[in-house]
């Protein structure tokens, strides 16, 4: 009987302890979680307001109070990154990634930290993990941001091939986003990939009812590709839409001038071709003389030949074409480069570049 009483007493004590532990643990947990959420909200607001140090303190509180929430750790990592404490930020981000390795935003933050630390190779991997990681619907803009930052990384590294691939991926990934498409086209053009840029920009021009500045950029790309007819047409279309656009007007005028000087344009009469040839030979003769190219014996011989060809009225056009090629090459390699608005200089440069 006494034994049973003891057992009942112990059971009652255990039940009471269990109840007390439940109540206390739940209350403490609730208090902790509530305070952590408040600290998180205040910390996020402080980051937004540019009060980085205060944000770090608040978010550190949030993490300490509720260490199970990865989003608090990520927010702290981001705040530490913002205030430049990269060494401190890194472990927090890695911890989140240890739990959710495919989390897009965490990988993006890690990529930024690594890029800032100069660890470009690891940063590139992290950017790719971010781009192809898992994102919440609300955070989709950050996924695009990851691509843009990766492109900026490649650009800063001068890694042109990878930059081109990233830009093409960017345009493929967001076909409905005109601004992003334009950005990709602009970046391709700036990186020297005029063919890709032209293809990209033409797509925009065709796909969107309002292509924005795509025709202007297309005209620039076509001009860079030495497709002056297309540049002229695109800039003409741009001028129809954007009447006062100075860039479109300049490309339009310049491409028209180039086309009017080019002796190799199709459907030219022999007389017009000869006249264009003569005008360009006269121009290159002047340019070579102006930049002091008459000093050497070889240059002097070339100038004398040019002078003789120009002096004769019915000179051989084919000889003149060969002379123009040689003079343009000489000019392009020895004299200062022509300005962007110099149409004749552009034609001469193209002729020099066409040399096999």
């Amino acid at each position: 009987m006494i034994g049973r009483l003891r057992a009942v007493l112990v059971a009652l004590v255990v039940i009471a302890l269990w109840a007390a532990a439940s109540v206390l643990a739940r209350t403490a947990h609730h208090e902790r979680v509530e305070r952590a959420a408040l600290a998180m909200a205040a910390g996020t607001a402080a980051v937004g307001a540019g009060r980085g140090t205060e944000a770090v303190a608040l978010l550190r509180d949030a993490v300490a109070l509720d260490p199970q929430r990865p989003e608090y750790r990520l927010a702290l990592g981001k705040a530490l990154f913002v205030v430049g404490r990269l060494e401190e930020a890194e472990p927090y981000v890695y911890e989140v990634l240890r739990r959710t390795p495919v989390d897009g935003e965490s990988n993006l933050v890690l990529a930024r930290i690594l890029a800032r630390q100069g660890n470009q190779a690891e940063a590139e991997s992290a950017y790719y993990r971010a781009i192809y990681g898992r994102w919440s619907t609300a955070a989709q803009p950050l996924r695009r941001q990851a691509r843009l930052e990766l492109i900026a990384l490649y650009r800063s590294q001068g890694a042109t091939a990878r930059l081109r691939a990233a830009l093409l991926e960017l345009s493929n990934a967001f076909p409905g986003d005109r601004e992003l498409q334009l950005q990709a086209g602009r970046d391709l053009l700036a990186a020297g990939f005029a063919d890709d840029a032209a293809r990209q920009l033409r797509l925009i021009d065709e796909r969107f009812a309002d292509p924005g500045r795509a025709p202007v950029l297309l005209a620039r790309a076509e001009f860079a590709r030495r497709h002056y007819v297309e540049a002229y047409e695109a800039s003409g279309r741009a001028l129809v839409r954007l009447a006062a656009d100075p860039e479109a007007a300049a490309i339009h005028a310049l491409s028209a001038r180039v086309l009017s000087l080019d002796p190799d344009q199709p459907r030219l009469s022999p007389a017009r071709r000869a006249a264009r040839l003569r005008a360009l030979l006269t121009d290159v003769h002047r340019r070579l003389g102006a930049c002091g190219e008459a000093d050497g014996p070889e240059a002097a011989r070339l100038l004398a030949t040019l002078t003789r060809w120009l002096a004769r009225r019915g000179s051989d056009v084919e000889v003149g074409r060969s002379l123009l090629q040689a003079a343009a090459t000489r000019w392009a390699t020895t004299c200062p480069a022509a300005s962007e608005t110099d149409a004749a200089g552009r034609v001469l440069t193209d002729l020099a570049t066409d040399l096999p």
Partner: protein, 573 residues
């Protein structure tokens, strides 16, 4: 209606013997301790959160630790058993008071420590949890009427449950109690300690979750020889720092304890000092877990961590010295973490990402140096971090710190506390050098006065052998691995009759009949006490080989035993 039967069979089947009851009780102790520790943790946290809400001004930040410490001291004055380090009371229960720990110590310690630690006293909740576990175990043991032997072992069982639940580390709980409280690996208590620790951890995890105490970033394993040197240097530094800490604690405890002040004035003053210091270094307040987590995440510069270590060393010393309730585990871990972090900041050859490994190694080194429990330290680093990569660095640092600290200061901090409290408790480190003796210390080679009669000989051969022998006593193998000892004058007539000799050799009862003694042989590695018990009924005790029980390697006589106790072997001096 059926008459009730008197058959006691089923009831008896359910009745447990003492050992079985002890094991069942170990589980109950673990559950109860786990629940109390959950309440303890939650209560400290709620007080801490409330204090933070109200203590935003500088005045309140100074006052809160003082108020809490003074209130806790008043509780301890009302309930004196709640005073002191819980480990000493637990060891006293094991060695002195037959497992008795007054239960009033449990609620007293609970409330006092909630008030002091919750308001910012820079001490820890682990040692109090240990005492609460031991107190609960002692009460349950008395309630269920355990035998005296089981009662002596029940306090360590509860202590293991307390430590395991407080840290969420079952292995650490078991090892600490075996290394520090039981001072050895006693198989009798091992099962119950493991059961209690495991059930306490399972219970506390139901409420507090399964995460380790610290969330540790990835631990980079040792990959270069230069890193080993860093951990070696950290171990030596940990040993030196631990020695300095123990000596400082000793001085503060004796000096501050000697000052006669009205009740609670000492803790009040210590609390005010803590509050003032915490205005500049708030990270030293309370358990310091948050700062330790920050150090693991490279939150602090090495110089900050070094400063925090020194400041925490001083404030925890003053708080403990004035008798403010609270434990020494957390401050020791704090010092180790900060020492490791500071060391990692200035040490060369460390690859990036090794901060957490060196911080955990520093923690283990300091714990091993202060508590002189290196195995516990290593497993604590592993369990608190949840990463196996921390084991090798912690082993290197903890072992060296233990050796250095032991060389410089023979007593651990717990020995000092016990000494200050007037107790002289046994300890694995302070074992007397000349006790106890083994059989091999006393045994002598087979003398001429004793002849061994091989079991393979028949009676005629034995008789012939006895006739020719100049010895006075004979040893013959009996049944059941026992041996017969008798004077040759007694054996000769028996050997002359084969049937009588055969009957004698079949004897196995350890009793003396017809002047022939039947004795258990002893082995060289056994305690001499075993041989002494045999000498009570036989003048000669055979010492046999463990590999061959028929081979007598020597004998022990009363003279040999007297001689052994009369000399102190050189290698034991």
């Amino acid at each position: 209606m059926t008459a009730p039967t008197d058959n006691p069979g089923p009831a008896r089947a359910w009745r447990l013997d003492d050992a079985q009851r002890f094991l069942v009780l170990a589980v109950l102790i673990g559950v109860c301790t786990g629940l109390v520790v959950v309440c303890f943790h939650a209560a400290i946290e709620l007080v801490d959160l409330s204090v933070r809400d109200t203590g935003r001004s500088s005045a309140m930040r100074i006052l809160w630790p003082a108020i809490g410490a003074a209130a806790a001291a008043l509780i301890v004055r009302a309930i004196p058993v709640a005073a002191g380090s819980g480990i000493v009371q637990t060891k006293s229960a094991l060695y002195v008071s037959n497992g008795h720990i007054p239960f009033a110590g449990v609620p007293g310690k609970f409330v006092a420590c909630v008030l002091s630690i919750g308001t910012g006293t820079p001490l820890g909740p682990e040692d109090p949890a240990l005492l609460m576990g031991a107190g609960i175990a002692s009460r349950l043991g008395r309630l269920f009427g355990l035998s005296q032997r089981s009662m002596r072992l029940i306090a360590p069982t509860g202590a293991a449950a307390g430590i395991a639940a407080a840290f969420n580390t079952p292995i650490t709980g078991v090892l600490f109690v075996l290394e520090e409280v039981v001072a050895g690996f006693d198989a009798a208590v091992m099962g119950s300690i493991v059961l209690a620790a495991a059930s306490a951890v399972v219970t506390s995890r139901l409420f507090l979750g399964e995460s380790p105490l610290f969330s540790v970033p990835d631990v980079v394993p040792i990959s270069q020889p230069g890193e080993v040197l860093v951990y070696v240097a950290l171990g030596v530094a940990g040993g030196l720092f631990a020695t300095a800490y123990v000596r400082m604690m000793s001085v503060l405890r004796y000096r501050l304890g000697a000052v006669r002040l009205p009740p609670a004035v000492g803790p009040l003053a210590a609390g005010l000092l803590v509050g003032v210091v915490a205005l500049a270094w708030p990270d030293v307040l309370g358990t310091g877990y948050r700062a330790m987590d920050g150090a693991l995440h490279s939150q602090y510069a090495w110089s900050t961590m070094a400063t925090l270590a020194v400041v925490k060393c001083l404030v925890s010393g003053v708080a403990f010295g004035t008798g403010t309730p609270g434990g020494l585990f957390a401050p020791t871990l704090f010092l180790g973490v900060m020492l490791g972090g500071a060391f990692g900041g200035v040490a060369p050859w460390l690859p990036p990402g090794s901060q957490s490994a060196i911080v955990l190694a520093g923690m283990a080194a300091m714990f091993a140096g202060v508590f002189r429990a290196p195995m516990t330290a290593v497993f604590m680093a592993f369990e608190l971090s949840g990463t196996a990569g921390s084991i090798v660095p912690a082993m290197i640092a903890a072992t060296l710190a233990f050796l250095v600290a032991r060389q410089l200061h023979p007593q651990s901090i717990l020995d000092l506390v016990a000494e200050h409290e007037g107790a002289n408790l046994p300890s694995a480190r302070l074992a007397r050098p000349d006790a106890p003796l083994h059989v091999e210390d006393a045994m002598a080679a087979l003398p001429d006065s004793v002849v061994v009669l091989p079991a393979l000989l028949d009676a005629a051969q034995v008789a012939a052998m006895l006739e020719a022998s100049p010895a006075t006593h004979g040893l013959a193998e009996a049944a059941g691995g026992r041996w017969l000892v008798a004077e040759l004058d007694v054996l000769r007539p028996i050997a002359a009759e084969p049937s009588a000799w055969f009957a004698l050799c079949q004897t196995s009862t350890p009793s003396s009949t017809a002047n022939v003694q039947v004795v258990e042989p002893v082995y060289p590695d056994e305690w001499l006490d075993v041989a002494l018990r045999q000498l009570a009924r036989s003048p000669v005790v055979p010492v046999v080989s463990r590999l061959d029980g028929r081979r007598v390697v020597g004998v022990v006589t009363a003279t040999d035993v007297r001689n052994a106790y009369g000399r102190v072997p050189v290698d034991r001096r």
